[in-house]
Subunit: 237 residues, 2 copies
Amino acid sequence: MNIADQTFPAVDNANEDRAQAIRDQLRDAIVDRRLAPGTKLSEGEVGTLFDVSRTVARAALQMLSFEGLVRTERNRGAFVANPSPEEARQVFASRRLIEPGIAIAAAGRITPADVAAFKAQLEEEGRFIAERGPSARRSEIKASGDFHLLLASVAGNVILQRFMEELVARSSLVIALYGRSGISSCGHNEHLQILQALENGNAERASALMLHHIDHIEADLDLRVRSGPALRQALES
Amino acid sequence: MNIADQTFPAVDNANEDRAQAIRDQLRDAIVDRRLAPGTKLSEGEVGTLFDVSRTVARAALQMLSFEGLVRTERNRGAFVANPSPEEARQVFASRRLIEPGIAIAAAGRITPADVAAFKAQLEEEGRFIAERGPSARRSEIKASGDFHLLLASVAGNVILQRFMEELVARSSLVIALYGRSGISSCGHNEHLQILQALENGNAERASALMLHHIDHIEADLDLRVRSGPALRQALES
DNA sequence: TAAGCAGAAATCGTATGCAATCTTTTCTGC
DNA sequence: GCAGAAAAGATTGCATACGATTTCTGCTTA
């Protein structure tokens, strides 16, 4: 899979930041696995694809590098990140620390409008699970992440919200890389339960459910190191 | 206080990333309050000061903007961040979520070499507290932050470590802005207690002490909004 | 005197050019 | 036929150029 095979919607953003728009599109492509880990993202190609100069493309890649979705090597360029099992564990360890607290904060602030948004979100999530095929599976991973992002926005702490954006994006990548099959419907169920606890104002329960939910997501990964790290590295791109 | 009044050590970094070196120096200057909140950081001036082109200066400013130490406005430029009381509260809320967990992780991984590093660090911290004057006070804020960064590095999660780097930097800015006087020695004492708990392998105690410590730091801030937000904004630069 | 308004100056956003570095191909000697 | 060296090509790092936007300045006018 090469970046040149991708097609991206035109970047319209009349007067907004074009680099940011490109970053968003690339991030979606990475999280969806339309761009495989290890894929080279050359400044020239990205620029050509989005019809901007290398300057702008470079800024977008720098942003992704900050988020950990792209790894850059000096004088060599940018590549889609290929997180190791250890990195994957750290991502989930971070989420275990942060998300139960976010759930508690959200329980104290959730409004009826938020609840409605959650329900719409979960309904969409359910639709993707019903479907089959790799495209639906990608949409499902994305929708599942959106639940957590919505929760973070309800919690009302913009710093944690940004941390969660990074963690969710990296989780999606990790799930695409190391995920087994049957996780999905189970996760959906847990989302429903969490929402119910939030609706009832039961912060403790929401927090505990969230912790279990994260454990379940991680438990459904296969994080065993398959071969020696040397071989792994040699094959990685 | 203008950026042009600052002097910066030469950026020698033979073959490393120059933008990163500039970011580090600017970050230090911001955290130390040698650059006051609201100060304009124009690309041209930064470039001239560090003897690089605007391209490189711009990249450094972009990094600081990601970390929240600098706020950029389109077509207007970059300014040293001027965190509001609400932002300050969110910084500490984030730390309350993350740092107790970091303390627990660190308790399980700390080595004798780490303990020695902590002791050296705390001794230096003590020296700055003994001194008086604004320069010592700045060093003290910095040293206090370094304790938390050292702890994060011992915990062994690079993602959380990066989050903590951002949170500590923003905390230093907040303390410089909203801090009252007498916090210091108290905080130092608490650092010592936390280290002791870590040495004893008492993870729960280290975690609880850390939570209290963060509460104390925040309690020593004056986060009341002084005037209407409109006035505040009007005066901010 | 204060407000309004043009023109100038400064600053930003972006494209492009050149040197340095890395990668790939081709050539040479064994 | 193959290993190593040299050249060609591609890509990045950085500086600079130029149009667009904002800010400053000094003049005019009520």
